[in-house]
């Protein structure tokens, strides 16, 4: 294979960066990971993502791509082994729909719970629970959302749940438990049995410590 330069600009505590990393690993793509300090963004990051100035940014042969779902689609189209999106157009539409729901609704509403002040937290929690319920209802007992192997929705959902588990413990707010979201909860067990995901997730105690410091700093 021709020499290809792949770089990923990320931040260890970002779930969106992890989504991209998992995609690269599933495809067996060699890449260089560059850790960004978001309090002190590098000039390269600002150059490669002038619009959002955020991570993740993928650099392939010098060309930058931003936005995690856009990057994953690019990865899937560029490296054809181990497809992350289904082959069938209708199935692909379903995968995109659910990935979008997780990205647009679930993640932001969950974050609002952990960041909101006391009087807003109840409403934020209600909204987050509603969004998770939608996801829970769609999931079945299947190990993977799309079929026989891990795909885009699996990656996005499992990473989201992992992050929520840590954040909710730190915030002292119970969102996902085996009682209220048995399917999502079970998925976390499955996540840890999936090597690619297991080795990409930051350790829970490190993430928890980060959330604790972060929430103190923002008060």
């Amino acid at each position: 294979m021709a020499h290809e330069e792949v770089k990923l600009f990320g931040m260890w505590s970002s779930p969106f960066v992890r989504i991209v990393e998992v995609a690269l690993k599933i495809k067996g793509v060699q890449y260089e990971y560059i850790e960004e300090d978001l309090q002190n963004k590098s000039s390269l990051l600002l150059k490669y993502n002038p619009v959002y100035k955020k991570v993740p940014v993928l650099l392939h042969n010098g060309k930058p791509i931003a936005e995690s779902l856009v990057i994953v689609e690019y990865i899937d189209e560029t490296w054809k082994d181990n497809p992350i999106l289904p082959q069938d157009s209708f199935e692909r539409a379903q995968a995109r729909f659910w990935a979008k729901l997780i990205d647009d609704k679930c993640m932001p509403s969950l974050w609002r719970v952990f960041r909101s002040k006391d009087n807003e937290q109840e409403k934020a929690t209600e909204e987050a629970l509603e969004n998770l319920k939608i996801l829970e209802n769609e999931l079945t007992d299947k190990r993977f959302f799309g079929g026989e192997t891990i795909g885009l929705v699996d990656i996005a959902a499992k990473i989201t749940v992992y992050w929520v588990q840590v954040a909710q413990e730190v915030a002292g707010v119970g969102i996902i438990s085996s009682q209220n979201f048995p399917v999502l909860f079970k998925w976390i067990d499955d996540l840890l049995s999936c090597n690619v995901l297991k080795e990409t997730m930051p350790p829970k105690d490190k993430l928890a410590a980060f959330f604790r410091t972060h929430s103190k700093a923002s008060k």
Binding site: A66, E77, T78, A93
Partner: protein, 225 residues
């Protein structure tokens, strides 16, 4: 023959993205109007989009697809003629980036402009200006986002920008001017003049009237509360 249906609401820009894509590709479809879409939800709408309960919904051979940007990708894959996305994966990623930006910012602004009052409205106006600055600086180099031909990013962004122009008129704020945003101004003129768009867009006065009433009702309700 495969059956294609589009469920939409005439005042909503999101349905037009789907209509334009289908017409661009010469795909025959049945259009179903969701009457009084803000106040009523038809059985078809609820059945086809139980999660969001919104329009547009696209139904192909009885199978529904929801979310206009997801529908556009489905249409592109199912009917590859007259492509709306480039072939090159990097160019495709660029198009998707602009579509995502459109969804994140322009769509939020679309609702904010009509619904927000007071401070929130001022905030929306500032965000609208920021978005225009981003598009002007980073997005436009050629006639369209798609290049010399109209593409998926143009349909996605163009729909919302056209509607936001109308909202500008209603709230009395004029942003997209040739002097401040020359490339953007030129792009939206190019977009609106394309026969595909021009022949498949609601009458401007009808839209102004509809949204003016909506806006007045919202402002009145805010004052009353």
């Amino acid at each position: 023959m495969a059956e294609v249906k589009v469920l939409g609401a005439w005042p909503s820009p999101f349905g037009y993205r789907v209509i334009w894509a289908l017409k661009h590709k010469g795909v025959k479809f049945e259009y179903i109007e969701e009457e009084d879409h803000l106040n009523k939800k038809s059985k078809l709408r609820l059945q086809s989009n139980p999660v969001h309960q919104k329009v547009p919904v696209f139904i192909h051979d009885g199978k529904p697809v929801a979310e206009s940007t997801v529908i556009l990708e489905y249409i592109e894959e199912t009917w590859p003629q007259n492509p709306l996305l480039p072939q090159d994966p990097y160019e495709r990623a660029m198009a998707r980036f602009w579509i995502k930006l459109g969804e994140d910012k322009a769509t939020t602004l679309f609702f904010a402009f009509i619904r927000a009052v007071g401070e929130d409205h001022e905030k929306a106006t500032n965000e609208w200006k920021e978005l225009l600055q981003i598009l002007e600086k980073h997005g436009l180099g050629k006639k369209f986002f798609g290049g010399e031909e109209i593409g998926m990013a143009d349909l996605a962004l163009g729909s919302v920008v056209c509607w936001l122009e109308i909202f500008e008129e209603i709230v009395g704020v004029k942003m997209i001017e040739a002097v401040s945003f020359p490339r953007l101004h030129q792009w939206i003129q190019n977009f609106k003049q394309e026969p595909l768009i021009k022949d498949n867009i609601p009458d401007r006065q009808k839209l102004v009237s509809f949204f003016k009433h909506r806006r007045e009702a919202i402002v009145a309700a805010a004052k009353a509360s």
